[in-house]
């Protein structure tokens, strides 16, 4: 197994045969910003840019032995009605349909699709040209430090035409017709920074995950709390209210157990005053729920007592082993691993650049 670790300065694969011994490889795309790297069905796609040369996608079909740039990278249509140009490919999601991938943009918050395993990409016009796009999305761009993002593209494994996307900021949206029509799905989700704290859209989901063993169950780590939604219900429940009061329920990633729909992990952060986005009181810890969010337990065994790193939204993941392995990367270039479902942690890589994404490959 490899961990695909995307950073501000390139992509590293960290390999293991037994989850005890880990080897950090040489960098791929050295010097390039890697926002996301995802492996699926023998293909690895990497969302990369230098920051000045615009966004692109690289692909490998030999496990990273060789790479080719997408012959038509994700981009808005030339002559786009709003003159939009994509700055960054921020998110990659494979569909279970052969060869189909989706890419989320930042910014503007565009959605793009490939039908040939990431070689050529086209705008999803049902989203990018939706009559409400300029209302739902942060447009004209409001220039949050890292731009406005479209992320957490989710394809229902039972129905490839059933999609979810989330906007940071903007909220979560659902399509049941393959991306032609969209509707907000934000009931019960707070946006306490607005005059109306429960608007129809405008919330700031940081990560949304569908449970692979129960596709009706969605978990969300939001700017304003942790939520769960069991479809066909449409109103999210704030399960983060059950977190310890002194920790709160703000963070970026939320990761799921591959088999147990009641188990999820978060990495809470300090969202007070200036939003330093470090762990509360500089004491890093994951929190796990094993009952769908009714109760949460702290998991910090092995982590430093004090540290001041941040774990970004794509920088935490789980593997499919038993017991489940959990991994996260930090803004100070460390990768931490637990192979006992969070009971204990150890650092398996350090001195990497700022980590943006960690995925199993």
């Amino acid at each position: 197994m490899n961990l695909l670790v995307g950073t501000r300065k390139g992509l590293w694969a960290i390999g293991t045969e037994d989850r005890r011994s880990w080897t950090v490889g040489e960098p791929h795309f050295f010097g390039q910003i890697v926002q996301h790297a995802v492996a699926h069905d023998g293909t690895v796609l990497v969302a990369a840019s230098t920051g000045h040369l615009g966004p692109t996608v690289f692909r490998s079909t030999d496990g990273g032995g060789s790479w080719a740039e997408a012959s038509r990278p994700p981009a808005f249509a030339t002559g786009d009605r709003l003159g939009r140009a994509l700055k960054t490919v921020f998110w990659l999601t494979p569909s279970h349909e052969a060869g189909v991938w989706y890419a989320g943009g930042a910014s503007p918050q565009g959605l793009f699709r490939s039908d040939d395993d990431g070689d050529t990409w086209s705008p999803v016009t049902g989203w990018n040209d939706h009559p409400m796009w300029e209302t739902w999305c942060e447009w004209p761009e409001e220039s949050t430090p890292d731009g406005s993002m479209l992320h957490s593209v989710i394809v229902d494994p039972r129905d490839a035409r059933h999609l979810y996307v989330s906007l940071s900021g903007g909220g979560t949206f659902e399509s049941t017709d393959g991306g032609e029509g969209w509707a907000p799905l934000n009931q019960g989700v707070a946006a306490d920074f607005f005059p109306d704290p429960f608007p129809e859209f405008g919330q700031d989901p940081h990560t949304v995950r569908m449970h692979p063993a129960d596709p009706d169950r969605l978990y969300m780590q939001n700017h304003c709390g942790i939520y769960r939604l069991d479809r066909p219900e449409v109103k999210w429940t704030r399960i983060g209210d059950n977190m310890p009061r002194e920790i709160g329920d703000i963070g970026f990633p939320i990761e799921l157990h591959p088999r147990d729909p009641d188990t999820a992990w978060v990495f809470p952060m300090d969202g007070t005053e200036t939003w330093p986005r470090t762990s509360i009181d500089g004491r890093p810890a994951a929190y796990v729920t094993r009952d769908g969010g009714t109760t949460w337990q702290r998991q910090a065994n092995g982590m430093p007592e004090r540290a001041w790193f941040t774990v970004k939204r794509q920088a935490m993941t789980t593997d499919g082993d038993d017991p489940v392995g959990i991994y996260f990367g930090t803004t100070c270039g460390e990768v931490w691993a637990s192979t006992d479902e969070g009971e204990s942690w150890r650092c398996i890589a350090e001195h990497l650049p700022e980590i943006y994404t960690v995925e199993c490959g």
Partner: protein
């Protein structure tokens, strides 16, 4: 055209390449035929010069919005510069 280092992975590590065309945009299009993907790294999908890019024909800077109308002569040297801001 003189090629900055971040773009040389597209030009086979060549620092100077030759392209055909009577405008800057036509030269970029010709270079894209020779080196697929090159043009999209220089201009975005709306044909706008990417941020932190600058172009000269000879010693004359090219207006950012005038790639399609700035003439290039047969012996002109076009310089493409990309600022390396950020850390």
């Amino acid at each position: 055209m003189r090629i900055p280092t971040p773009l040389r992975s597209y030009t086979g590590q060549q620092s100077v390449v030759e392209g055909r065309g009577t405008t800057v945009d036509e030269v970029l299009a010709d270079l894209d035929r020779q080196f697929p993907g090159f043009r999209f790294r220089v201009v975005d999908e709306q044909g706008r010069l990417r941020t932190h890019m600058k172009v000269w024909v000879g010693e004359e800077p090219v207006d950012r919005g005038a790639l399609a109308t700035t003439p290039v002569g047969a012996d002109d040297e076009v310089t493409l510069m990309q600022a390396l801001s950020g850390g």
